[in-house]
Subunit: 349 residues, 4 copies
């Protein structure tokens, strides 16, 4: 009999089903994967205060995130190209996110289009992750499609002026397939189709400034690890930042995101929404991030392992487990709602 999915075994269950190249693509990090390990290890260093006899029966996990009331302060991270993990693909993942009250962020390099996602989960909260291409028309077209399909925020990725060296991909000469939505759009418009190579490395703070002024939805700067960069993002009018090292796929040696989060929160937490991703494996990790000031948490690999292991149902199960463990952890630390999730629930270091 197959094992039930847990947050401990889901990566292994997924690895058994996935082609090794695809497993390496989703799992791998940059360089010697020092930051990949550190992202996880940094969460494990935090200690939570166990509080008792609080008399709490139900906890409230509602959060307001980028203008939406989410019943779970979690956003499924923009993992590229989810169809090869399971035929349910991004549509299934978006449905799973909506079912648990989480947000969903679509990758620029998704298997599905914004309209596909909107059709699959019309009531879900959805954001678009954006790479800016040298061919700005292509980026503009993707944004237009997303806004048309009811996407309500743009998460601008800024930590990929060049692609990190990912040895698991290099070793197997892995390349993304051609049937990605963005590639189809690019081909239709006569743009090149060479994936990440098309990303424009020259975008800068001036570009961000213009983008924030011109779009009618919040721009969230994804990939900020330094307080100074967060302050510049705020000054440009960004609606938020994601404290991120791109899931440890870009700069090997970058700090763990949960180590960088407090400085960013202290610098700009009163001016914009601070989100975080990287290394989140458990519901307790969610609470640590929230206690350190994150408004919501992006989680990528765990739901993708759920998708690979069991399609939409598997992804949903993983998200339900994350919710359940968040609730348990809140109850055991005496948090009635996320407003109680302050640094006081953590043991100082």
């Amino acid at each position: 009999v197959p094992a039930e999915i847990t947050l401990s075994n889901v990566e292994e269950l997924a690895a058994e089903k996935l082609d090794p190249s695809w497993y390496g693509f989703y799992a791998g990090g940059a360089g010697a994967e020092r930051t990949l390990r550190e992202n996880v290890a940094a969460f494990a260093r935090w200690r939570l205060r166990q509080r008792v006899l609080v008399g709490v029966e139900r906890v409230d996990t509602n959060a307001r995130v980028l203008g939406h009331d989410l019943s779970l302060p979690l956003v499924v991270a923009p993992i590229a190209c989810q169809r090869p993990a399971h035929k349910d693909g991004e549509e299934g993942m978006a449905r799973a996110a909506a079912a648990v009250g989480a947000g969903f962020c679509l990758s620029t390099f998704a298997s599905a289009s914004p309209a596909d996602v909107a059709g699959a989960a019309p009531h879900g909260v959805r954001f678009l992750q954006l790479y800016v291409f040298r061919d700005r028309g292509l980026s503009d077209e993707l944004v237009a499609q997303a806004l048309e399909a009811g996407f309500t925020a743009i998460l601008l990725t800024v930590d990929l002026p060049v692609v990190g060296m990912r040895d698991r991909e290099l070793e197997r000469a892995f390349v993304l397939p051609e049937d990605l939505h963005t590639v189809r759009v690019a081909r239709a418009s006569g743009s090149g189709t060479d994936g990440l190579a098309l990303v424009d490395p020259t975008i800068d703070w001036a570009y961000l400034d213009r983008l924030c002024s011109s779009l009618g939805v919040p721009v969230v700067v994804k990939g900020v690890l330094e307080a100074e960069d967060a302050r510049r993002a705020a000054a440009c009018g960004a609606g938020g930042v994601v404290v991120s090292n791109h899931g440890a796929r870009q700069l090997d040696g970058a700090r763990a995101t949960i180590d960088a989060l407090p400085e960013v929160v202290d610098a700009v937490g009163d001016r914009l929404e601070v989100l975080v991703d990287g290394g989140v494996r458990r519901g307790a990790d969610l609470l640590v991030a929230l206690a350190l000031g994150a408004r919501a948490v992006l989680v990528g690999r765990q739901p993708v392992w759920g998708l690979a292991a069991g399609g939409e149902r598997g992804a949903r199960r993983v998200l339900e487990l994350l919710r359940e463990e968040l609730e348990i952890t809140m109850q055991l630390t005496g948090c009635r709602s996320l407003a109680d999730a302050s640094r006081a629930i953590l043991v100082a270091r």
Copy 2:
């Protein structure tokens, strides 16, 4: 030939005999099992001062615990449902505890009734671990049975307003069997029988206050890790606290109990008895806990492995080894009696 039981190999000997689901139930912890590992690792970080030429031939391990003179400052922890470990069950464990001069604490979810235990080890010191049910009549009935059977303290578990996420159980869809004493009582009285789900998450300090006033025996609050909570327990009239994270089965990320112990002792050690559990694998761990101010130490997994490996004899052997190693460790640190087991025998950190 089978290996002799040691404190090093007993878990492995037990695992060979146990059904994997039951091994997972007894061994597992919550979440990513960070606290499970940390409970053990925290003991290993302490260093004891080796003292020589003290001229001590025999050491005295007598301790006064909750009104009893124990010849060993150890209480067998309330591990649920011990019959599946070995047919000797809780009765065998209680006899083993009595044989070595230790106390025995019966779980609310035991295979045996308080009367069974009293009959099996009539001269043993026995306590009842209590979960408070939504159906208070059920809790009251259990307490009444225990007091009737000569149990002399109630260890009120307060760190389980909700059950921790235990992946080893989830993976195999493990559930406790129906033939537990409490379930039989509940069924007879028409209460529900859904185990831990029946526990009342709303009990609070006011409840504790009433319980301490109304019971004729000491109430020991089990599951305290914070000095502030210990002070409230003292104010409510508790007879003691157990510094515990429920064997790392509830809040993953909680501090190691031996790390939390000194603060609790400093806060309330002069007003009530402080006990501790979690991560104890060796007799030297007992001495570290006592040196840091614990009155006695609850030990669960090691005796259960003994029970699984060799029934009552196996459990007793484990307890004898713990006693023997405690005595050796006292002798090598120059402690004639437990009064000598102060922080001075530890290397300051």
Copy 3:
């Protein structure tokens, strides 16, 4: 199908091709290999600051090293006896270095002569690593050959007054083969041929002083880990120092080179060029070393694994990967050129 070479798998690919004795020779360190592990671990402890929206498309890796403009601040380290790794030997390695704009340093115990190397890569930057022999005539002859062949600096190894205890070699009774260039020269001149045993342990600061005055090219003192020794080297007129523990093959227990580098830079960085080697496995390590003040970095094992795995092409691929990852790391930390690689890009510890 064979795996593509990456900086993660190249040692394993090489080990599959090499005779175990030769693998042990290239891979091994002294003693319990504490320093061998520490050299690598110390790099992994550094954290780099991820900076975003810098708008940099191309980074400039040019550096001036010992009078040469290198397009990559890397010198292939003087690994002894490279022919047994692959028939392409030192000639192939020198060509690989020249192809990527790196320098090449020939070992005293090379399979090839200085003239061979000059012939193979006439436009490459080349240095000679020098052991001083008891028979000074032999050392002088080697230097003369190197200068004649256009070598432009002498890296005087000072951390081998005696050979370290290398258990991997001892276990297999490994000895260097007789067909080394230096052995051929020694035999021709009637000197002994017993390899490292011929090295003169009595050379001292006075010798260095004379050598610096008498040679027409810079003398770089290779094997300095202490600021005081670096200051003496500067006082003797050395053109540079290499912060080195001989690839952890000499003093087991020596500090990691990257731990020693800052002190040496602070002591003499304004008076001579400070290079470093030891533990470099990734392009990110190069940037850490440069940020801490190294002018260039010697790298040995990684290119040798490339040579063993795929001859000159393999060595070149490894060097290309190191360059590529250096460039990526510069871009992700916001360094336009190596002038930007200051301690400010590192997270302070």
Copy 4:
């Protein structure tokens, strides 16, 4: 072909030859073997300063230890019962020690008598390790035999008032054989023969005081880890102390000996000779101990592995390797003689 013995592989070579019970006896430690691992790990934490161009060709390892000029500051530790390791037994080990200029210490529970050892290595420096028995006549007889046979110091073991819990022995119900010299003496005199159980746990400082006054040779107190105990030993007239935790076979949780050494040296180093044992695996460890103030170092397991792997020749090879690595380490840290081995050669922590 069999591998050559190295300090890295000798334990493995021995384990292949030894009966598992005997391997467990020699290798094992007390309890969870925390101190066993820590003894070794603590040496690995020290860093040595690499110094260059010192111009030293030969180093001088001569030391004056307990009235003798040893050409190597090493004493083979009193490992019990060496005949089962190899038929060459203690006689072979004593010859090996003498051959390299080291001292030899005979165990109270040796396979051979003092006279056997004196006959085998008449020119070797030899000490007796002494357990004091309840039957003082037995202890006196052993001391008398040793003095008669030219033993020149008594190493009084004080850290064994009771035997540590050694799980490797318990698991296999290991007991020392009957054909030990002391057992033969005991049987002849009508004393009991139950090995370590005969040791008198009540000896104290007063006993030490009398012993120091009554013996004509130095009494060295073996098993001191605390400065206060060292001062008392000095006050009693001891000729030395051995900073020791009995090879981690007694108090699990005791500090690593090399961590305790500096305090003991600071307390009594000017009044008596401080020796140390525990965790020494390499020649570099010897130099660390000497630099921290030890007069000489007792080494047990490594020579016993050599004995098991290759008899007297094997033991001698191990001792030669330790000497050779000590010399190399001195040369690479710029020590001409042991007088140069001060704390200045270590990197401060």
